[in-house]
């Protein structure tokens, strides 16, 4: 016997074997339908007795196994049912002959046989035979079961008679020696009369009777016979049969102890063997019934003695196996005994002993096994290990079986079977093909082994001719570990995202490369400043959050929801490119090419623009910006991204990723808005530090210079621009600015609105830089002090008060101070264009485009000192300006109606300007050699005169007018008069101050200046007054005037001066002395004209 039945279990010992075979041409499916119906009759209660006969059906049974029927009767084919098709009566005799032939195969052991003929219509020619049944078709055979039952009963009758026959004839006649097939020749020529031989015969026969009793449902009798057989056989050292007797004993005990059966699942057993379900319902003789009392009370008595305890069963099994082990030819028996023992152990939950037993199975050498048998053997081992809970061992053998399927010796490797078996091993290696399980927590299981298994899966699926599967597995493998061969496959079959379903129902979920590359953070980027939409304020209720009726609440609304579902507080605009930044890194030791990387979104039509990137090996964090264009307005949610790595497309959802930082993935998309592009006549420059600006320009101007900037706005969007506003804001500057920094005229531009797509408009903006570069405090002090030094003739100048003595040796214009003046000042301003249009305008959105203007103002010319110098006239004074040219260029300075003054680079010159009523404005004209400055070379410089100087420059509020001879006199005016004529003198006081002044007294004192420092006041005889020389002025109210009139008579010719002395009566008043600065009068007395 060379074919082991791996499905054997202990209960099989009590069954009778029936072979059901097709005869001739029987369709396979029809045969198995009939077979199933036959096999459903697996136990038959025998009439008039409480016994039950169990039947084991086989549709295939090797005749050489049948030869072991004497050794163990359940191996003996006792019944044969043939199924055949026979359409015409003509065929019938032939069919009948074939049935005879088939019977002869098992002829020696058959108790009974049946032939089921299908398809024969009409009359059956031959007379009714009990062993033949005719059915018109395979579908029309209602009494098959009934017939099988009858058949089983007839078998039982034969069995019972044989049992009784064998059980009774124990004495007297010579007992026949039962032999195992390989033993037959050993006993040739042996002395058949020896006691030893007789005992052997007896023992073997006892054992045989035990087998028959067990089959016939007499468990108790069987136990007794087995015990006797064991004793007999032990005494004659007939080990093979001793083993068989022990095994029989075990089987009977197992049947007694475990009425539920030891076969673990019905599916694994060949159909026809009683299923576990109805095994439970079996009524077993000797077993306890539900009420706890055996139906046959007589059997109760001997049970305790004869039946083996649970431990003993195992002991005896081991003993039996060890005896079998002595015979090489009994390998199959040993193997099957082992398997049976394992099943019993599994039920007893003695896994370790079971594993030892199984270990033994591995070593049983059955000689040359066919490949199929090997596979079967390993599969069974695997199943048995599974049964005892050794999942790893089970997986190991399953894998061995799988490898056996494709062993190189097999001419046609069964890759499909291999693949199927390999898949079954996965749980044993704690490997799940679902990436969801994989990404959970830390790594589980035995990496090296898993890796190997996956490789095998890949190979098997490829050889199976299913490259799609192969790619899927490889992807998974890649996800776990590293390999590159995937690319070769994907070139033939792109890896997709759809679930691959295997024919056997197993679904392979798609494998996403979430780790290639690894994404660490996802952040949605706001639009660039110039493209951000701004909600127009002022729409009622728009800005208010409707979540709470309170304006302020200390309870902050915590968003309980997921971080990712949080809405971001900026908006994207329909039709504009939006960006999402991913921080990725490549954990692989090779360069990773990621193609077709794009965004997965929901909520809004989104056109994702895929990117391709190449990450260097084991790169650090690497920013990747994925872009896309929302095509409709609404709320958009970024769900994840898709990649194509090694040709495998993966969809990676953010929610499935671990360790991804995200600041929220939902953003509002507002309707489309126009887009303006700004370009300027000046080159762009670096952005200003302080604010977010779309563009900025910077230029360098000399103080006082003006330049025009032309800004061209082009509508590059698709929407029409409807509104445009322009505002400017000066950024925090402490400098005092004269006039407007930026001026523009928008009217022309506005007349071009609405601006269609592609059109442009230009706006001129004037930039003028007028700054005060002389603003240092100490400088002004200096100037003030210096005023003293330049004050010339105190007599003829308006009186000025000396505030403090001038510090000597003031290093004016030294290098140190020159550097101080030389620094560049900066002016910054932002021009903001606010525009709107299209659908976005309806929603109240607008866009802002800002242009930063930065001007570096270089000092050109500035006034280092300002001082006044009295002029000869009381109405005028000289303003002395020390003008410093801090540029590197030669300048020509011109002021109103004055001579031009040429200033060389870094030169300081004093510039005199006759005082006018207002502070002067100087016009400096640079004669620059610098080409860039040649464009605009006029500078307007304004300086600030401080209050003190201004006071000096202003005329005193009391205006004194002296009129001599009807002619107003001032310093430079010489009044002519004739000797002997009375010269009228009029002193007029006009009060321009805000309060009344007076009373004053004035005394007119004439004197002669000899121009040598001597002044002669003794002129009583040369000049005489007509009237008083002293005037009295009473109170003069504001804006009023008072006039004192007198007359002088010059007696001699000559130059005379009149000094009008002033006396203030009111000591309480302290009016500034400058207010009383009266002009000195120069009178030239001449000879009277000779008529």
């Amino acid at each position: 016997m060379s074919v082991p039945d791996y499905m054997q279990c202990a209960e099989d010992h009590q069954t009778a074997l029936v072979v059901v075979q097709p005869m001739g041409i029987v369709p396979e499916d029809q045969f198995f339908r009939i077979y199933k119906r036959i096999a459903s009759v697996s136990q038959v209660s025998i009439r008039d007795s409480q016994r039950v006969l169990f039947i084991r059906y086989r549709h295939h049974y090797p005749p050489e196994n049948n030869e072991w029927g004497d050794f163990q009767t359940h191996r003996k084919v006792v019944g044969l049912i043939s199924v055949t098709s026979c359409t015409t009566t003509k065929e019938w005799p032939q069919t009948s002959d074939r049935f005879q032939g088939q019977k002869e195969v098992f002829g020696s052991t058959l108790y009974d046989s049946r032939l089921l003929v299908f398809g024969l219509q009409g009359e059956v020619a031959e007379q009714q035979r009990t062993d033949v049944a005719f059915y018109p078709s395979y579908d029309d055979c209602p009494d098959v079961e009934k017939r099988v039952e009858d058949f089983v009963e007839s078998i039982f009758i034969v069995l019972e008679s044989k049992r009784l026959d064998r059980a009774t004839d124990k004495s007297g006649d010579k007992i026949q020696l039962l032999c195992a097939p390989f033993e037959k020749k050993d006993f040739v020529g042996l002395d058949t009369d020896s006691r030893h031989y007789k005992k052997r015969c007896q023992g073997r026969m006892r054992k045989h009777v035990g087998d028959l009793c067990l089959q016939a449902g007499m468990l108790q009798d069987a136990l007794v016979h087995y015990h006797m057989a064991v004793e007999l056989l032990r005494s004659v050292n007939d080990f093979l049969w001793l083993g068989a007797a022990l095994e029989g004993l075990c089987s009977a005990s197992v049947i007694f102890h475990y009425p539920g059966g030891t076969a673990w699942k019905s599916g694994a057993r060949k159909p026809g063997v009683s299923s576990a379900a109805d095994a439970g319902k079996r009524h077993r003789p000797g077993a306890l019934t539900t009420n706890g009392i055996s139906a046959d009370t007589s059997t109760e008595i001997g049970r305790a003695k004869n039946c083996l305890s649970q431990e003993d069963i195992i002991e005896k099994y081991k003993e039996a196996i060890s005896y079998y082990g002595k015979y090489k030819s009994a390998g199959v028996i040993e193997l099957e005994a082992c398997i049976k023992a394992v099943r019993v152990l599994a039920i007893q939950k003695r896994a370790r002993e079971a594993s030892e037993c199984l270990q033994n199975v591995v070593y049983i050498n059955l000689g040359q096994l066919s490949e199929e048998e090997k596979i079967q053997r390993y599969s069974v081992l695997s199943e048995l290990y599974e049964l005892i809970g050794f999942h790893r061992k089970s997986a190991f053998f399953k894998r061995v079986a799988a490898m056996q399927c494709v062993a190189p010796t097999i001419p046609e490797p069964g890759w499909k079977a291999c693949y199927k078996l390999l898949l079954e091993t996965l749980p044993g290696y704690s490997l799940s093909l679902d990436p969801k399980d994989f990404s959970k927590g830390t790594h589980r299981g035995w990496a090296a082994v898993q890796l190997r298994l996956l490789h095998e899966l890949v190979y098997a699926s490829r050889r199976m001719g299913n490259p799609g599967l192969s790619v899927r597995h490889l992807s998974f493998l890649l996800k776990k570990e590293v390999t590159q061969s995937l690319e070769n496959y994907t070139s033939k079959c792109p890896g997709g995202m759809e679930v691959i379903s295997l024919p056997d129902g197993l679904k392979l979920p798609p494998v996403s490369f979430t780790k290639l590359p690894i994404v660490r953070s996802v952040s949605l980027l706001n639009l660039p400043v110039s493209l951000r939409p701004h909600k127009v304020k002022g729409l009622l209720g728009q800005g208010m959050s409707s979540a709470s009726p309170f304006i302020y609440s200390p309870i902050t609304m915590h968003s309980r929801g997921d971080e990712r579902s949080k809405k971001i507080d900026f908006q994207w605009v329909q039709g504009d490119v939006c960006e999402v930044q991913l921080m990725v890194y490549n954990p692989m030791p090779f360069e990773l090419r990621v193609e077709n990387m794009g965004l997965l979104t929901s909520g809004v039509d989104f056109e994702s623009l895929p990117a391709a990137l190449s990450l260097p090996a084991e790169s650090g964090l690497y920013p990747v910006t994925l872009v896309g264009v929302p095509r409709t307005a609404g709320n958009i949610t970024i769900n994840g991204y898709h990649t194509s790595v090694f040709g495998v497309s993966s969809d990676c959802l953010l929610e499935g990723l671990v360790g991804v930082k995200s600041s929220g993935c939902m953003v509002e998309v507002v309707p489309s808005l126009p887009r303006l592009q700004l370009c300027t006549s000046l080159p762009r420059s670096a952005h200003l530090s302080s604010e977010d600006l779309s563009t900025s320009v910077s230029l360098r101007l000399f103080n006082g210079e003006m330049q025009q900037l032309t800004i061209t706005l082009e509508n590059i969007g698709t929407e029409t621009l409807n509104t445009l506003e322009l505002t400017s804001k000066n950024l925090s500057t402490k400098e005092k600015l004269f006039g407007e920094f930026l001026t523009w005229d928008l009217q022309d531009a506005l007349s071009h609105l609405p601006l269609k797509s592609g059109q442009s408009v230009s706006i001129p903006v004037n930039i003028s830089a007028k700054l005060d570069f002389s603003g240092q405090e100490n400088l002004l002090h200096d100037l003030n002090d210096d005023g003293i030094s330049v004050t010339g003739l105190p007599v003829s100048s308006p009186l000025r008060q000396v505030l403090k003595p001038r510090a000597e040796n003031k290093p004016v214009g030294s290098d140190a101070s020159k550097n101080e003046f030389n620094h560049v000042k900066m002016l910054e301003a932002v021009l903001t264009f606010k525009y709107s249009g299209g659908a976005g305008q309806v929603e109240g959105y607008s866009r802002e485009l800002s242009l930063g203007v930065r001007v570096d103002v270089e000092p050109s010319v500035f006034f280092t000192r300002v001082s006044t110098l009295p002029a000869t006239s009381t109405r005028q004074c000289h303003l002395l300006l020390d003008v410093f040219n801090s540029t590197e260029h030669e300048l020509t300075l011109s002021a109103k109606n004055n001579q031009d003054l040429v200033l060389h680079a870094s030169e300081c010159q004093r510039y005199t300007h006759t005082h006018t009523q207002t502070p002067p404005s100087l016009k400096a004209i640079s004669q620059s050699q610098r080409t860039s400055l040649l464009l605009r070379n006029e500078l307007f410089v304004e300086g600030v005169l401080n209050q003190l100087i201004l006071e000096h420059l202003q005329l005193a509020p009391l205006q004194w007018d002296v009129v001599v001879n009807g002619k107003p006199c001032d310093c430079d005016v010489i009044a002519d008069c004739r000797v002997g004529d009375a010269v009228p003198l009029e002193v007029k006081l006009t009060n321009r101050s805000k309060s009344a002044v007076g009373p004053f007294s004035l005394t007119v004192v004439p004197f002669q200046d000899y121009q040598n420092g001597v002044q002669n006041y003794d002129l009583q005889d040369a000049v005489s007054f007509i009237g008083s020389n002293t005037f009295y002025i009473s109170t003069v109210k504001p804006t009023e005037n008072s006039v004192c009139v007198g007359a002088l008579l010059f007696l001699y010719t000559g130059d005379f001066y009149l000094n009008i002395k002033f006396q203030d009566d009111s000591t309480a008043r302290d009016l500034p002395p400058a207010w009383f600065c009266l002009p000195s009068v120069h009178v030239k007395a001449q000879e009277p004209v000779e008529l």
Partner: protein, 129 residues
Amino acid sequence: MNCPLYIRSVPTQGELKFHYTVHTSLDVVEEKISGVGKALADQRELYLGLLYPTEDYKVYGYVTNSKVKFVIVVDSSNTSLRDNEIRSMFRKLHNSFTDVMCNPFYNPGDPIQSKAFDSIVSTMMVQAC
């Protein structure tokens, strides 16, 4: 968890075979632990003895109280290694493993990369061969 923290074999070729051997031996280890657990949970003998013999190798097992498993596979033909020697090897291994666990920079569950542990294993392997 039962994932390998440390595997070493000499010679290195055919290492995968030992992976399989050790992996399947875990079945026996678990069976042994669960079997003993019922009787004496606290004072369990850490040394599990011979797990199972194969044709060429003997597999011994050892389980710490924290259920960390050590498995030693030796050549069957090596008669110098008896139960006592194996037992002392396991004890050494356990001590060294304890040192590894004491390292504050070691995360339990990570593969062991300690040089000290490595050298202990190496010396044991030299002795055994």
